[in-house]
Symmetry: C2
Subunit: 210 residues, 2 copies
DNA sequence: ACTGACTGACCGTCAGTCAGTCAAGTCAGT
DNA sequence: ACTGACTTGACTGACTGACGGTCAGTCAGT
C-alpha cells in the first residue's frame, strides 16, 4: 500500500480518534485492531508503533475524554462571579444539550456493549471530578446553602450512586422509571449536602405529579 | 484420555466450581477455557456441551453466587421476631466475618483483574437485593425509625453508592481512607432513610476520633 | 439398540511481533 | 550551491501463537 508519512502527533491523534469512534460504535471487545487500521489505511505495525497494546489505546481514549470533562468542570468551578448553586446547576443541570459532545459522550459511554470503557471512565470520573465538586461544596458551605462534614467523600459517594441512573439505561428502563430515579437522586443529594429541599430542582426540569 | 462419565448435574457443578475458582484467581479474561478443562481433565467439547459460550458460564457463576446471597438476605428479611434495625445490622454489619465466603467473595470480586465478574455482580446485586432491603425499610417506616418517600429507589441509589467503598480497594487506599469512607456512607444512609444519627453505628464498630 | 455424555482434531479470528522498507533530513566533499 | 552517501525513525505486512468455538464421531450405561 502507498506509504504516507505523517507527523507523529497527527498520526497518533488519527488512530486515537478512529479507535474512539469504532469502540463506541461496535464496543471495545468486538472491535479488532484490524478494523481500526483498515479504516485509517495503515499497517498493523503502525498501530503497535504508537500503542503497546489494545488496552493501552483504551486507556489513552479514557484519559483524553476525561481531561476534556475535567477542564470544563474546572472552568466552571473557578468562575468567581458564580454562586455555588449556580455552579452546581451549570455542571449537573440538563441545560447543556447544545454543546456537541458532553451529552453525547455520556450517552454513548453507556451503550450495553461498552462495559470496559464504561467502568474505566466511571471510576476515573469519580476520582478526578470529585475534588472539583467538593471545592464548590466548600464554597456553598461558606455561602450558607450547604452543610456537610466531609465534602470530598460525600461527593464521591453521591457520584458513585448517581451511576444507578445511567446504569439503568443499560437495562432499557422506562421513562417513568428513569424519572423516579432522578427525583430520588435529587432528594438524596439535597439531604446529603444539607441543602434546602427543592434547591436542586434544576435536575428535574418538569416535576411529575407522581 | 480415559473417558469418565458423571451425572450431568455433578459434571456441570464441577465445571462451574473450577471456573469460579480460576476466574477469581487469574481473572476472567486471562483464564482460558483450555485452562479450565485441563484442570478438570475433560475435553473442550465437554465444556461446550454444558455451556454455550465463555460469557455463558460467567453468567452461571454470577447467578449461583448471587442466589446464595439473596437467599441469606431473604431469610433475615422474613424473620418476624426482628426489628427493622436489627435486620439492617444483620445484613450490613461487619459481624459476619466468620461465615466463610460472604467476605471472601467480596474481597476477591474486587481484584483489579476481575472487572467483568465485578460489574456484572454489582449490577445484579443491586437489582435483586434492593427489593429485600426496601421491604425492611417499609417495616422500619411502620416502626417509626425510618422516613423515606421511595424506599426502593433510595435503596438502589445507596447500594450503588456504597460501591465506592469497595471500589476503593482496587486502588489500595489506606486504612484511614477506608474508615473515612465508611463513616460518610453511614451518615448518608441515615440522612437518606430519615434515620436517627448514630442509628447505623454498627457499620463503624470503633468510632475514630478524627 | 439406543441415548446422551463425552472426545479431540480442527477452524477462523485476533492480538501482538519483527525483519525489513522507504522517505526525509544531515552533512562531508566538491 | 549541488550531489550523493549516510542516518533516523515512521511505516509495512507476513507471520505466530493462543484463543473461543464446532462437529463428526466414540463409548458407557441402560
Amino acid at each position: 500500500m502507498a506509504r504516507i508519512v505523517k507527523a507523529p502527533e497527527e498520526r497518533r491523534a488519527e488512530i486515537v480518534e478512529t479507535a474512539d469512534r469504532l469502540f463506541r460504535q461496535y464496543g471495545y471487545a468486538k472491535c479488532s485492531v484490524e478494523m481500526i487500521i483498515r479504516e485509517i489505511g495503515v499497517a498493523k505495525g503502525t498501530f503497535y508503533y504508537y500503542f503497546k497494546s489494545k488496552p493501552d489505546i483504551l486507556q489513552a481514549i479514557v484519559d483524553k475524554t476525561l481531561s476534556q470533562i475535567v477542564e470544563m468542570a474546572k472552568g466552571v468551578a473557578d468562575e468567581p462571579s458564580l454562586t455555588a448553586m449556580q455552579k452546581m446547576e451549570a455542571l449537573l443541570g440538563n441545560s447543556h444539550i447544545g454543546d456537541d459532545n458532553s451529552l453525547e459522550v455520556a450517552e454513548m459511554l453507556h451503550l450495553p456493549e461498552n462495559r470496559e470503557l464504561h467502568e474505566l471512565t466511571n471510576i476515573q470520573t469519580v476520582l478526578q471530578l470529585s475534588p472539583i465538586l467538593a471545592q464548590i461544596v466548600e464554597q456553598g458551605i461558606g455561602e450558607g446553602v450547604f452543610e456537610v462534614e466531609r465534602p470530598l467523600e460525600t461527593i464521591q459517594f453521591l457520584f458513585t450512586g448517581a451511576q444507578f441512573l445511567t446504569d439503568g439505561d443499560m437495562f432499557g428502563f422506562s421513562e417513568a422509571e428513569i424519572r423516579k430515579r432522578r427525583l430520588v437522586t435529587q432528594t438524596i443529594i439535597e439531604k446529603a449536602l444539607g441543602a434546602a429541599p427543592g434547591s436542586f430542582d434544576f435536575m428535574n426540569p418538569i416535576r411529575a405529579v407522581e
